[in-house]
Every structure is written in C-alpha cells, then in structure tokens.
Amino acid sequence: MTTELITTQEPEAGAAPASGARQVWRRLRARKSALAAAAVLGLLVLLALGAPLLAALEGQDANSYHDTLVDSARGGVPLGSFGGIGAEHWLGVEPGTGRDLFVRLLFGARVSLLVGVGATLVQVLLGLAVGLAAALGGRAVESALGHLTDVMVAMPLLVFAIALMAVVPADFPRPVLLVVAIGLLNWGGMARLVRAQALGLTKLDFVSAARLTGASRRRVARRELLPSLAAPVITYAAVLLPANIVIEASMSFLGVGVKPPTPSWGQMLSTATTWFRADPMYVLLPALMLFVTTLAFTVLGDGLRTALDPRQASRLGVGRKRRTTRTSGARTRTSGAGGTA
C-alpha cells in the first residue's frame, strides 16, 4: 500500500512484466486449470485432424444411413440402450437416419474449429490493421476509421450474418462463407482495442524517443508498438475464439450455417430439440462437445491473460492485494514529479 513496497518487494514491478515468451510460459504453467484446458483442446484438435483415420478405425463414415438401427415404428428412435451405443457405433447413431454419431461429432469438431480459428484470424488481422491505422494516421484517417468501426460495432452481428446467408449464392462453400462473414462483421471490438492501446502507447515516452531518432511511422508501429500490443491482442483473441465457435453453432442451429449433410454440432442440437424425450443421448453428446470446447477456450484465455499481464487481476487466482500496491505506487511516482500539462 505504500511506495516503499514497490522497490522492496519486486524491483521490476514498475516495468512491464512479460518480456519474454519463457516468462509467460512459466506463469501459465503454474495454473493447473489453464494447463488442463490446453490439454483438452490439444486432444480435440488431434481428434478433429484424425477424424478420417478414427472413422476408418471404427469402420463407419459420416453420411451412410442405417435404417436397420432405428425403430421406424417409434418414429426413428435408435434401437438399443443409450441411443444405440455399442461396438459397431461407439457413441450410437442419429435418430431417424441411423448415421454414426461418433464420426459425425468428430467431423463437427472440424467445422467448429475451422470456423472458430479462421474467423478469429480474420478479426485479428483486420482489427490490427484498422486499429493501428486509426491510431497512427492523421485526423481525417482517424475519424473515418473511427466511424467505420462504430458502424461495425453497431451492426447486429448475428442478424447481419444470418441475413447475409440469404443473399449469397448457395454453391459458395459454407464454412468459408462463415469464416468470412463472422470475420468481416465482428472485428470492430478488436479495432477499438488496438486503437486504444496503441494511442495509449504513443503517449509513452519511449515512442517519443523513437520518433526523435527519425524513425518513420511504420517503423515505430512495427518496432515499438506491435510487441507491446501482442499481449492485449492475444488476450482478446482468446475471448473472440470461443465466441466465434458459438456463433457458428448458433447459425447452424438456426439452419443458416453449414449445409447438410456436412455435420455440425449446432445443427445436431437443432435436430435434437425434437428428440430430447426419446433419445437424450443425442442432445447430450453434441451439447457436451460444444460446452467443453468453449469452456476450455475460455479457461485457457483466462489463464493466458494472467500469464501475459500479471498486473491484470486474475479471476481464478489470487493477486489482488499486490495489484493495489502497484497502482498506488505508480501514482506516487508520477504525482511526485509535479508534472506539467
């Protein structure tokens, strides 16, 4: 709570902490929840990548109908317990069609991850480009980009994305369309973040010092700003990624996402709404997959944020007290200086 603490406690407290990937990794490693989440995600990626192999191992494919496995008298409920789980179909079959659930879930993971990661990449790149241009450009550029960002943020994302699906030709590949649509529509937040952070950084003296060396704007952006932007951008991307996955699932749930027969978790859940009494397994499996995926990304993102910037209070751990000390310490330093306008 005092100035003294700063220097006695940690000499480097005043400086920006994460100065190397190694330190970030060390702090991340200390958080079990984040590690577990990373492990889950790693497994998921492996499953998605190895989907065709695993399907071959099971001896099934995603789109073959198995009329014999469903009870047509009861409207197509899978025969056998727990939705037809057995040696042939490891996670049972889809009600109505008898398609293999295990393989469909694996291929669904591909869609989720592809759209999630792809859209996030588009958002990060666009956000960085627009945000940096707005922060470093002249007044006209800044206000034009600022208004554009305002429009993007005001655009109701899901509404617009769904509306887009109405006008894009049906033969355009849907996963790509989803990546482009979500990516192009939802970069406003990232752009605002980058702009605000970059503007904050340009007020710092080290950027002024760089300008005094005669460095061009682009050089300043690359050498002085980008390294410091990495942490907030990664942190925010970790929030966007699970959100994008949910958006894809939502659109498929509403029937405006990927086209059948391409499997998607959202679409399966949509069908499941009519089956949950007769075949609860069909609801639980895709719901669980989606939930675990988004939860793992969220937990990992939370861990990453704390690892990248320990001064940001963690939501899962402790560390509040120390933050207080630092803030008041920082204030002491600047206020002690009798700064001028």
């Binding site: 005092t2 480097e12 060396t213 920082a330 206020s335 009798g338 001028t340």
Partner: protein, 543 residues
C-alpha cells in the same frame, strides 16, 4: 481516556513488518526492529528514500496492516492503546478518533461521488454516534473553515473534483481534525503539490499543532519539508532506523554516514553552482523561438499551454526552465525538439525555420535535437533490450555497420556509468536511476547539439538525483552540448543552469543569468516561488 501528560503519546517498540511475496516462498521485510516514542504534542518526521519502510511504519500506527496479509510483530501503543492487541471495534475507535491519517494524493483519497462536507460529517458521526446529522454537518463546516477553505458552508457541498489540489489537501486535513485527534499521521502530505501550495499546507500543519496541541508524525522523502515542520527526525533506510534525534542537531551534525550522504545530496537553492561554464568561444545561436504558441483542443475549449514565448539557446549553454504544474514548461520543451508542432510563432534551428516542418522533412537533423524524459519507467520500451534502444538512432542514421554500432553503444553505456555488458538486458532489470542513465545514453548516441531534459530527476530519490545531475553536468561540459533543463524543483535547476527562465501560465515571467534571478528575483512570482522552497537549515526556515 485520561492520560497523564508525561506518558508518551506513541510508543513503538521493536516493530517489524513483513510482506509475504506473491511468488509464494519468500517474505519481504519492509520494517525491521523499529523503536521510537513521541511525547504528547511532539512532532516527528520519518525521513527516508523509497524502500526505506517509512510509510509502512506509519500505517502500523493505525493498525492499517490488519487483514492485508502482512505480518506485524513488536508493540505499537498510541495513547495507551495497544494497536496490535486491540479488537476491531477498539481499533476503529482509535482510527480517526485518537489518531488521524492524512494521505498523499488528495484527489484519489476522497470519495469522488460525495460532497466533501458529507464525507467529513460521516467521519464525525462514526466517532460520535449520538451526534445528530445537523451537528455533524456543522462540525464539518467548522473544520473546513478552520483549515482555510473560504466560504466553507457553501464549499462543503462541493465534490472533490471541484476543488483545487491544495484545497483538497486542506479538506483532508479538515477530515482529520473532525474528531479532535491527539495524533496526526501525515504520509507525504505535500508531495503531489506545487511548492507554493506546499508551503501553505506546511504552515497550516504548524499552526494547527500549536493551536490544538496534537502530536504529528510526518512521513516524507524531503528533508527540507521535514526540517521546516518538526522538532525531531527519524532517518530510515531499508526498514531500519539509521539515526534519531532532534532535527536541529541531526541537520547540523549528522552522526551516521548515511545521513551525511543524504544531506550532501540535497540540492540547495541558496548555494551557487560550483562549476561555471567556461565559454568555448562558439556562442552561436542554436535554437531560437519567437512568439511561440501552442494551443490544445478546438473551439471554446481551447487551452493555451504556451503563450507567446521567445527564447534563445546558444551552443554549449544550459538553460533552466522552472515553473509549477500547468506552467507550460513541458509543452515548450517538446516543441523545442519538435515532438510537438507549434500552433503559432517561429522556431529556428541554426537559422532554419523548423516550426512547421513535416516528420519527413525533419529527418535530416532530427538526431541533433534529443530529449531525456521524466519517467524512467515509460521512457524505455519494456520489450526491447536497452542496447537496442540506445542503438536505434545509430541504426536509423545508417552510417555505421553492426559491429561499430555495438562498440559505440558499449562505449556510451560505460560513459554514463553502466556496465557495457548490460547491452542485452531489459529495462525492468534496472533501478530508476540506472534507467535514467540509459535514457541519457540514448539521447547522446546520435551526437546531438541540444538535449532537452524534461524533469529528468524528479522521479528519483535524492541520492540518485544528485548522481544523475552530476553526470549531466559532466557530459554537458565535456561534449559542449546545449542543455535545456526543465524542472519544478528550483534547487535542482540551480545546480545546473547558466541561465534561468521562470514560466507561469504558459508565459515567461522572468529570465536572466541564473545567479541573478536566484539572488535578486525581480518578479513577484519568482520571489514567492523562491520563498516557498523549504530550507534545510532550521534557522533559515523560521526566518
């Protein structure tokens, strides 16, 4: 609570405070084995540099470490109450009732949402549950009036942001007075204030002490502030008491080496500069500003930060610019190196108009005008090694190859008193003073003709401050640089300046040879400014 007059007001015996470090294993001793007493009505200053544990010790007097995870051992007695042993209710009674605290930053220390009078009334009611709302409010107005808030009854309804910095600090002192405490603990109460306001607040504290007979414990890094306010000094270093005794005696005849060192480092406003610049013959005009202006904002909200400033800087001379906050000195400094574009007037560098040039047009002589910044934390990119930061201007110039650049950087590091092998280390591995040395090395790298130093030492401890000022002086003489030294601290500026410029409200109020301005100030503002500087010698302080 009746106390005999000869029992001490405060007894601290073998006080230690340890903070568990966040990383889990170790603890940090902020205070170890501290003992002192304070007689009723006495005044003691706890003086030390950052990291000395002075504030931590002061917080222990009110039991403020309780519940924070800090381990406190030893005994603290305030007005007979054992702070360590007291239960929560007794402690709450002590806080504000028996001993009241005045914090450093008056803006953030007050609730921004509530009227100042209400906040003081709340404190009064906390300790006088029987008093009615009206009585408490009346008391709030009374104490506000006592600390010199004009029109207190009306101003009591204002919220903190409607007060000036000095008035806020007065309000905080009023809050402390609300319950007639027997002890006032003031933690750097004037550090955030301008020197003239500081003098007023210190005067107020003196008056109040004489009037109410309360004891005062003043925590400060500034020996001058301590010297002019208290009878007794306690010098701390690294959590321990170094020296303790009557202020007059310690200041006149320090017994310990550290105290001597500290006293020697304190810049004196009334002492002439030791080394005077030897003119090198080349007195050509380097930079010339005529009617320079800078406005911020547009329309009705335009603020003029620098207003019609004319200034000439000759090769090899040092010009000091002093002023209080809001005087426009930083804005002026930034315009001189063209980090900011003037909105009016002329700025000539070696006879060439540079005021309106674009970044690209400036590039050919950018490196000849350099700057050393105030904040040692933000002036270095935390994600690049210091060597890279210093090498930047050399790389931008493109004249040297890689090996030559590294050699030059190592040479510069050595010149500013750092280990040349520190090239690959990062800013957070250095102390504030060392980082400021890195900043100086970076400014020197492109062999500039002029360096503008904007408050280069104000964030540093006094001993470090002296070292950095000495280094700047040496470099300036050795390299024949022109230096513009901007600071709020008149004493520091005196140590380095050939000429002095005094600014106020964006304008220059006085300018002249440094010794002339310091010894025979003509403008009333300069006279007031100089009179407000706390003097180290107690005899002078009272004069």
């Amino acid at each position: 609570m009746t106390t005999v007059t000869d029992t001490p007001l405060v007894v601290v015996d073998d006080l230690s405070v340890r903070f568990p470090t966040g990383t889990g294993d170790g603890v940090v001793r902020a205070v170890s084995g501290l003992s002192f007493t304070l007689a009723p009505g006495g005044a003691l200053a706890v003086v030390g540099e950052s990291g000395s544990g002075k504030s931590t010790a002061a917080y222990a007097l009110l039991g403020l470490h309780r519940g924070t995870g800090a381990e406190v051992t030893g005994t603290v007695r305030v007005a007979g109450q054992d702070v360590q042993a007291a239960d929560d209710a007794a402690l709450r009674k002590l806080r504000g009732g028996t001993a009241a605290m005045v914090f450093q930053d008056p803006l953030s220390s007050l609730d921004p949402y509530q009227a100042i009078g209400d906040q003081i009334a709340e404190v009064h009611r906390l300790h006088h549950p029987g008093a009615g709302r009206r009585a408490s409010r009346a008391r709030a107005v009374e104490v506000l009036d006592r600390v010199g808030i004009p029109d207190a009854a009306r101003r009591a309804r204002s919220r903190p942001h409607e007060f000036s910095g000095g008035m806020r600090q007065r309000a905080l002192i009023a809050m402390a007075l609300a319950c007639d405490p027997r002890l006032l603990v003031a933690d750097e109460p004037t550090t955030a204030l301008d020197v003239t306001v500081q003098a007023q607040i210190l005067g107020l504290l003196r008056e109040l002490r004489e009037e109410t007979g309360m004891g005062l414990i003043l925590v400060t890094h500034d020996l001058g502030v301590a010297a002019s306010s208290v009878d007794e000094l306690l010098v701390m270093k690294d959590g321990r008491a170094v020296e303790h005794g009557p202020a007059r005696e310690i200041l006149a005849r320090p017994r310990e080496d550290y105290t001597r060192e500290l006293l020697a480092a304190v810049p004196r406003v009334n002492v002439r500069r030791e080394t005077v610049r030897t003119p090198k013959g080349d007195d050509s005009v380097l930079l010339e500003a005529t009617g320079l202006r800078r406005e911020f904002g547009r329309g009705r909200k335009t603020v003029t930060a620098v207003d019609d400033v004319s200034l000439t800087i000759r090769a090899g001379e040092t010009v000091g610019i002093v002023g209080e906050s809001g005087s426009g000195k930083t804005t002026l400094g930034r315009m001189l190196v063209r980090l900011l574009e003037p909105t009016g007037g002329e700025l000539r560098y070696e006879g060439r108009e540079i005021g309106g040039l674009k970044d690209r047009e400036l590039r050919s002589f950018r490196s000849e005008l350099q700057m050393v910044f105030q904040d040692p934390v933000s002036s270095l990119n935390p994600r690049r090694s210091i060597g890279e930061s210093i090498a930047d201007p050399l790389r931008a110039a493109g004249r040297l190859d890689d090996a030559a650049i590294v050699a030059r950087v190592r040479e510069l590091l050595e010149r500013v008193g750092l280990d040349p092998d520190a090239y690959h280390r990062y800013p957070h591995e250095f102390s504030g003073g060392q980082r400021q040395r890195v900043g100086i090395a970076r400014a020197l790298a492109p062999e500039p003709k002029l360096i503008v130093c904007d408050e280069p030492v104000s964030a540093l401890d006094v001993t470090t401050q002296a070292q950095v000022v000495r280094l700047l002086g040496e470099l300036q003489r050795e390299l024949g640089l022109a230096v513009v030294f901007i600071a709020h601290d008149l004493a520091v500026v005196r140590q380095v300046s050939d000429r002095l410029v005094v600014m106020r409200g964006g304008r220059i109020v006085e300018e002249g040879p440094a010794d002339t301005v310091y010894e025979r100030p003509r403008h009333a503002y300069t006279q007031g400014l100089l009179a407000a500087v706390p003097r180290l010698e107690p005899a002078e302080a009272t004069a």
